[in-house]
Symmetry: C2
Subunit: 352 residues, 2 copies
DNA sequence: CTGTTAGCGCTTTCAC
DNA sequence: GTGAAAGCGCTAACAG
């Protein structure tokens, strides 16, 4: 910068003025400065600027696992918005591990990020170190119950309701749910939506139809197998995320059962490949990209708010969208049911 | 830091010494400094440090589209390694657009990243601004032909060979390939591997069996439809990436054809869901996570090499791994072929 | 071993 | 409108 100033025959502050463009500089000087910058291949040093201004224009994003297809979409939404607003993104992956999450938070702190977007990991203690300090922070997707502060997620209660309602509309009554890990708000909320719908239509929620615990494919397979082994198996299964859905589909395939003839299946999260399965999988789609975008926008507000008028606690809930495809259908007729149960049954006269 | 020093009753440089741990400090002083740091909730300012040392300990990663399942894995590998080595990652998404890529490079430059890992976009001009400056840079996956400098990718020629060989071993002779965009090194190389294998076994490479152009799902569907509409369609199809594979599978489903009975299909890139398709999809897996990790390690070497002994140009090629599942099988027998062609044929006596 | 000091490259008053 | 100068928080000589 000094060199640029010297080459252009002006002072350092003039160079600064043309770089930032906030102070008026006479056109001819401006031009000569720009020529000098080009000649020297000058790139303003954002680090020095940050040191001076106390603002880095960098935000941190922490996700539990970027290889889980939900997060790339979310990150993309946030990153697009951030880039547009002149912010850069430090990406951190916590591997679903609190210790990592905590150390990432400390690193982000040290790097003086202006704010943090976080999809926290199970048992996260992020709020302890962050929310308490009134540090700009937005929770995405997974909202810790303890944590104060701003958050954004799909309205998972509604999502759970919509999914269940779809099945109920198809006349299903025995609906199983592979509910995931209930310590995580999305799964907890989806189950609540499921309960709401079932109760609204006076359908019983059987203990053995509700399986919770893990959130991986294998957990879905196990849960699916358990559900299908029941004396009276459900006629429809709801899977609380994309991996569990894959697992359930696997369990069904292992038994050579067909969707939706033998039973209906649907899941939360709609990924590209869902529509290429056979049958194409019905799913509840989240507005993931939008969630990322709005998460950033909320964070930006918090960052740029004047000390006096902070954004008050804000919890955005976005609507989910049911995408009906071919893995859900009417309740299986008698003959299919028999196949499903793998038990002989007396032929009932007037089965609905 | 000044406050910490004051509280601990030592000088600033002593605080710096205990923070960095490179100079010996007497235990009691060290303890009192640490107490003061804790009391003041002191986090060393990485920005100021960077300004002083001229090293940011941040790298940039640029990918064309983080929502393409290949990249999260790659980024994860790099990020894991970077975190372990004390580096942070600025993630940039170019949206497969050169203008974005260029502006990201400029931002990363301004932020004084120590190096850049890039999976460049189509028609990238990244090398113009970067490689020429001898700036630490590693190309990942997509290697520009013009670009000098270090690179890492799967050995895609070998990958193409292995995939084709698998089909040839199954006695396929009429093999179609949905080759993707040949301006991108992975696709170009896979096609080369395909050619090598075909030539080695004296199999003809028919123009109408080779379809190139796009790399999206729709391109795969179109290509698949074209291939299946041929008078004499191929008995096996190779898809050059995960999206094209999805598209091909779709085209096959539209015709109510079954894999591998009617024709065999396999693709490059092996994603989680491939094994949950029916039949489970044969695929050539890339060591994506490892690629990311080693890309970072290579970059780190470049960053930390002494001005005298720079790392010379290095091109790492990692082996791909064929994962045989159920979408590939023997050449269809006569009756299937007839279904495939949708044309009547005289019954040949001794068809193999 | 510890303290003093001079900047890293920039922004930002404040005189001119 | 433009330049001089102070200082953001830290590190690394260097002197003690």
């Amino acid at each position: 910068m000094r060199d640029v100033a010297r080459l252009a025959g002006v002072s350092i502050s003039t160079v600064s003025a043309v770089v930032n463009g906030n102070v008026f500089v006479s056109p001819e000087r401006k031009a000569s400065v720009q020529r000098a910058m080009a000649a020297l291949d000058y790139h303003p040093d954002a680090i020095a600027r940050s040191l001076k201004t106390g603002k880095s224009n960098v935000i941190g994003i922490i996700v539990p696992d970027i290889t889980n297809a939900f997060y790339p979409e979310l990150v993309r939404g946030a990153e697009d918005a951030a880039t547009k607003a002149g912010y850069s993104v430090l990406l951190c992956d916590s591997s679903e591990n609190c210790k990592n999450e905590e150390s990432h938070i400390n690193v982000l702190f040290s790097r003086r990020v202006d704010g943090i977007l976080i999809a926290c990991c199970i048992n996260s203690r992020a709020h302890e170190s962050l929310a308490q300090r009134r540090f700009p922070l937005v929770y995405m997707d997974r909202i810790p119950s303890a944590g104060a502060g701003c958050s954004i997620s799909t309205d998972n209660v509604q999502a759970g309701y919509v999914a269940t309602k779809h099945l109920i509309d198809l006349d299903h009554q025995r609906i199983g749910i592979v509910a995931g890990y209930l310590g995580l708000s999305p799964h907890h909320d989806r189950l609540e939506g499921f309960r709401n719908a079932m109760q609204e239509f006076h359908l019983p929620i059987l203990d053995e139809y509700l399986i919770s615990g893990g959130i991986q494919v294998a957990d879905g397979t196990n849960a699916g197998q358990a559900l299908l082994s029941l004396q009276v198996p459900p006629t429809a299964i709801l899977a609380s995320n994309g991996n569990l859905l894959l697992g359930v589909v696997q369990a069904i395939a292992e038994r050579r059962l067909k969707m939706p003839d033998h039973l209906s299946v649907l899941g939360f999260d709609d990924y590209l490949w869902h529509r290429f399965f056979h049958p194409a999988l019905t799913a509840v789609a989240q507005p993931t990209h939008e969630m990322g975008r709005r998460a950033f926008e909320l964070l930006k507000q918090m960052i740029e708010s004047e000390p006096g008028q902070e954004v008050q606690e804000k919890h955005i809930r976005l609507p989910a969208e049911l995408r009906v495809r071919n893995s859900t259908g009417p309740v299986p007729q008698r003959e299919f049911r028999r196949v499903l149960k793998k038990t002989r049954q007396p032929v009932a006269a007037n089965e609905k």
